[in-house]
């Protein structure tokens, strides 16, 4: 197991690929691997790209990777596709659009699917990013379809989040209202050569104004004209809107500049550390929740399974609260003992 970690740290592509497989499979020992990798992380700039299907995410990611490579930076990409809820299988097609960097092993593209357990995917993504970071990638790009809470959760693990919007589609702008507006650090109106791009930019600008003025955390001060006080407060990031035509590579440089601006803002404002701590806090909670859940599932199994417990509740032999208390009692008494001896 440590041999695999050593080979990854030594820059062996196959070892990196295998570590990500183990993370995805929850294979035995993957936790030790991720634990060993953690101290080697923290250097990569993590960028999340999301947007509706067909917005041009894969194409843009491909051009981004090529541009970063031209600057001498190494790139890791995690492309996430949905899996079938029926068979669990998936066709992962993002790779097809990534043709600009073929044959260049310093662009490491990995396709991942949801594999049924959606909560697990964000954990797996975080760990896969860690593997790429420890491997020494300068830029790590996470690409997800921007629909649903899970996708939002995943993309939020990035330092900088870009939301792609195709033009002339009121529906897409509508979609943005459902929670994705808040997570965008940069907007890209892709396919900007199509009709309606200007209108989309305008609509976005409008929505951003609506979103920032009344709800900004010191919006009241602004209204009071207390600008002196306002200026002293930490600067706020206002998401820029960049127009791109990804398949022709237009606007990609400007888009990367916008991402870099956001990264600089994170450093300048101290946001980066704050966000990082928040992220780790969330990760610890998630891990504990799933671990505890697993431990409890095992305990439930020992007591005849959840169906049996439910049957007893239905037969009025017991009630849900008593069952929960009984299941938790051994864990609580353990914790009490622990804290008593400390």
């Amino acid at each position: 197991m440590t041999a695999l970690v050593d080979r990854l740290l030594a820059g062996e592509h196959r070892a990196l690929a295998r570590v990500i497989s183990k993370i995805e499979d929850r294979a035995e020992g993957y936790r030790d691997i991720v634990a060993a990798l953690h101290e080697h992380t923290g250097d990569a700039d993590v960028i999340g790209i999301t947007g509706s299907p067909g917005a041009g995410k894969s194409t843009l990611v491909d051009k981004m990777a090529a541009a970063y490579r031209e600057r001498g930076l190494s790139v890791g990409v995690i492309a996430i596709d949905p899996s079938s809820p029926y068979s669990g299988g998936a066709v992962l097609g993002d790779r097809i659009r990534m043709g600009s960097t073929v044959g260049d092993m310093d662009v490491f593209v990995r396709s991942m699917s949801a594999r049924g357990s959606l909560g697990g995917l964000s954990t797996a993504t975080t760990d896969a990013v860690r593997a790429l970071d420890a491997f020494g990638k300068d830029k790590v790009i996470i690409e997800t379809v921007g629909a649903g809470q899970n996708e939002v959760d995943i993309v939020r693990t990035a330092d900088t989040v870009a939301v792609l919007v195709p033009p002339a589609s009121g529906d897409d702008v509508q979609m943005l209202k459902a929670g994705i507006l808040e997570i965008a650090d940069v907007f890209a109106v892709n396919k900007a050569d199509l009709d309606g791009a200007d209108r989309t930019v305008q609509q976005l600008r409008e929505m951003l104004r609506e979103a920032t003025v009344p709800t900004g955390h010191h919006g009241v001060d602004v209204l009071d004209g207390d600008s002196e006080n306002d200026r002293e407060e930490a600067e706020n990031w206002e998401p820029p809107i960049v127009e791109t035509v990804a398949n022709r590579g237009e606007g990609v440089a400007e888009f990367l500049d916008a991402l870099a601006d956001h990264a600089a803002y994170l450093d300048r404002s101290g946001e980066r550390e704050a966000v990082e701590r928040q992220r780790y806090a969330e990760e610890i909670r998630t891990l504990l929740r799933t671990d505890l859940q697993d431990a409890l599932d095992a305990e439930i199994q020992r007591r005849g399974g959840i169906d049996e417990l439910a049957r007893r509740v239905a037969a009025r032999e017991t009630d849900p609260y008593t069952v929960a208390d009984e299941l938790l009692a051994p864990i609580e008494s353990c914790l009490d003992e622990e804290s008593a001896t400390r």
């Binding site: 690929a17 499979d25 936790r31 299988g89 097609g93 790779r95 097809i96």
Partner: protein
Amino acid sequence: MSADTQQRTIRCLVAKVGLDGHDRGAHVISRALRDAGFEVIYSGLHRSPEEIVQAAVQEDVDVLGISILSGAHNTLVPKVVDGLREYGAFKDTLLLVGGIIPEEDEADLREMGVAEVFGPGTSTDEMVGFIRENVPER
């Protein structure tokens, strides 16, 4: 203590190599493998052996299925095999070839390390069964 449930999923790369635009078969195979519960990465058309190797190594696929109907299998397959060897990915990747392969070439391909050659008329069930039985232990 960790009761993580392992969930090993078979990953496959379906690849079209070289100047061969016939991808109906590759599409049918991709869907069949998906419906069998596998994760399938489809390469798209006209890929070079290097691209296929890169994808197979990075995606850490269990199965690499190459579809060739152009007759160039004797030059393309060895290049893929060499590339896989170079990155230490040859021995734990199940290598399959499908398409139009003359019978007299099959033995050579097997010699190179191709596990099975599936010609026209192969049922998808047969292929899925073969993969399930022969997927490399890891």
